[in-house]
Symmetry: none
Subunit: 210 residues, 4 copies
DNA sequence: GATGAATGAGTCTTCATTCAT
DNA sequence: TATGAATGAAGACTCATTCAT
């Protein structure tokens, strides 16, 4: 039994958690570039030097934040749609999870939306796979719905990307003065209306005369 | 005839244009924070000191970029919908202009989407008004369509904000490796499908017998 | 008759006067280093470029201020002591002129006291001669008084330098929060007390008994 | 025993000392404004970044220099007059300490005299208290002497300020070409002559005839 | 002569990263 | 491992001086 190694590993993961939570707070308030490693270390309850024991450089901190956030959403979506068969319901739930996540992890979400572009090429690649996984999940839901004749015949990949993006919009909402709607109103709007973009309307066929 | 003043003014606006174009290039490639004033000056064909003759600080450069971009879109939308009455057509054209703009001024658009949050409170306020104007334009189109019974009865303000945001999504598209769709495909998708989120489906009323 | 040359010369001297007055205002408020040539030009009612028609560089502006100021004091002292014979009276008047000058040209005085050290070696030499002339004037008054048995036998050169410096103290007075005495009180103090440092006291010889 | 805290504190004060000594050298040679932080850091034997670990900004460096200098003089004066009762002797010693200090810390003194005006309002306030303390010390000596009938009845506050200033004159002496007297000669002059400005001359009272 | 736009060298200051303890 | 002092490269901004008009 690799008790020693386990102990080491558990400390590492505890530290990563600390860093994630500290960094989310700081990034959300000041953005990636304006945040200093000192502030992140403080928020994480670590010394600046210690930070660098667990992280190659500042970019890796951003990567931790984004990855950790993605994994959380993905896992929650998985739970939310398991056991559900109806495509429309599955789609709605998947979207709803993203919106719910935005409320709970507003800061991480904000960071994810805005700071991805600050990553290096390598960082983007590493992240791209995660986002791709999430989008493919949405896509599979859409494809099922199309096959079942419940959704419009559309490019499911693009639709998935757009839906994914729409929920990120929701994440950063409120930063600009003109953005005054409540998050709940936006949720409702998306669930009630945007969904029509994909659902095939049941056009009431004119009942035959006679 | 204030010839002198005119000359001075025309030079100022020429310089602002130079700065706009230089800054757009640099911001698009490196983002606001990573761009240096030296790089912007170089791209604008000005000396660093000259830059500061026309701009209070780095933030004002960003503001110029965003404002100029907004004004361009606004003016193009205005032209595109003038003389058109049909709400659906107006809406489609408004969206199409935004998408077209994204192709032409890809860099400015990218900057607008990503760097707004880097503005100071004052800068955000100044910008917020511009964005608000644009959103209100979309909203009025939606309201007309709702009144005419062509659009679903929905919260037109939120719808306008979402549409506005959706087109900005399009702007930054392509930055991440997984984003492989062509811009034309996305345009088509939005025009063909997303529009259903607002259009009231024409349930074919049974034509009256006789 | 060199009319043309005269005209040119009169404009030059008019400009120097403008520069002197503008620079005094600006230097007094901000000090030599913190003053910009733009501010000086503005205060002088000239364009920045025009300033450089009359002045080699910024240092020469300081030189103009200091020289002009010195010449003014010197000329006023000359007038004040002409026709007076009593050494004590002459000394008092010389000092008084310096103090009076300080009230009238407070700004120039402040500048003179503080910014001389900012001059280049050449500038210092040029100025040093002027100050030296003023000190020698005081010294000659002191020497006369010593010869006449009215002043203590002291190193008249050092005494002159110290008196000269004492009045410059007066110039900058009030800049620091603790300096609360009125200028008039200080004048009175110097005239009434400091003068005893040089005057030979008439020790009342005990009148012989009988 | 707070050994750790002590160690930290001792390093801080060691660094402040280094900065004080480096800055004094540089300021004395070039003045506050012309000195660069790089030069100061070099003179202090620190990296530029390290400088800013111990100092908020350039102004604080000046403040350190002036404060440290003041404290040194104050402490030396205290030692010099302790145990002495005769007012004239106390006054002479106080002055002498200032003069002696000028020889030993010529550079610091020069800086103190010239650069105080470059301080911000806050800096001036902070410093003003220190100078005030020193002046009040001189004043108390003067007041004692007046009460004892040894000094002329004069405004002791103004006298203290003037004496304080007179010794600062001595500090910067030698900068201008015309200033050729030796420091020792000036010391002698002040001790022998300037003191008469305050001392009440002993008019030999006729000894009562029995 | 007068002007003020243009220039770029020069400065302060910040902050990611290293490393001795 | 943990720490935080030390480092210096990098960047925003200023301003004396020049020069085309």
């Amino acid at each position: 039994m690799a008790k020693r190694a386990d102990f080491v590993e558990s400390r590492r993961s505890k530290r990563r958690k600390q860093i994630f939570e500290g960094a989310v707070k700081v990034f959300a308030k000041k953005g990636y570039h304006s945040a200093t490693t000192q502030e992140i270390a403080d928020a994480a309850g670590l010394a600046k030097g210690t930070l660098y024991e667990y992280v190659r450089d500042k970019e890796e901190i951003l990567l931790i934040v984004v990855e950790e956030g993605m994994l959380m959403v993905k896992s929650e979506i998985g739970k939310a749609i398991s056991g559900i068969d109806d495509p429309e319901e599955r789609m709605k739930r998947a979207i709803f999870v993203q919106l719910k996540f935005a409320k709970k992890y507003r800061n991480a979400a904000k960071v994810m939306q805005h700071e991805i572009r600050n990553l290096s090429v390598d960082g983007k690649k590493r992240l791209s796979e995660l986002m791709n996984g999430q989008i493919e999940l949405l896509r599979s839901i859409l494809d099922d719905g199309i096959k079942a004749g419940r959704f419009r015949k559309l490019d499911s990949r693009i639709a998935a990307e757009l839906f994914h993006h729409t929920s990120t919009f929701y994440f950063g909402y409120g930063d600009l003065p003109y953005q005054k709607a409540s998050l709940d109103d936006i949720t409702k709007f998306i669930m009630d209306n945007l969904i029509h973009a994909i659902i095939k309307e049941k056009t009431k066929e004119p009942t035959p005369v006679l």
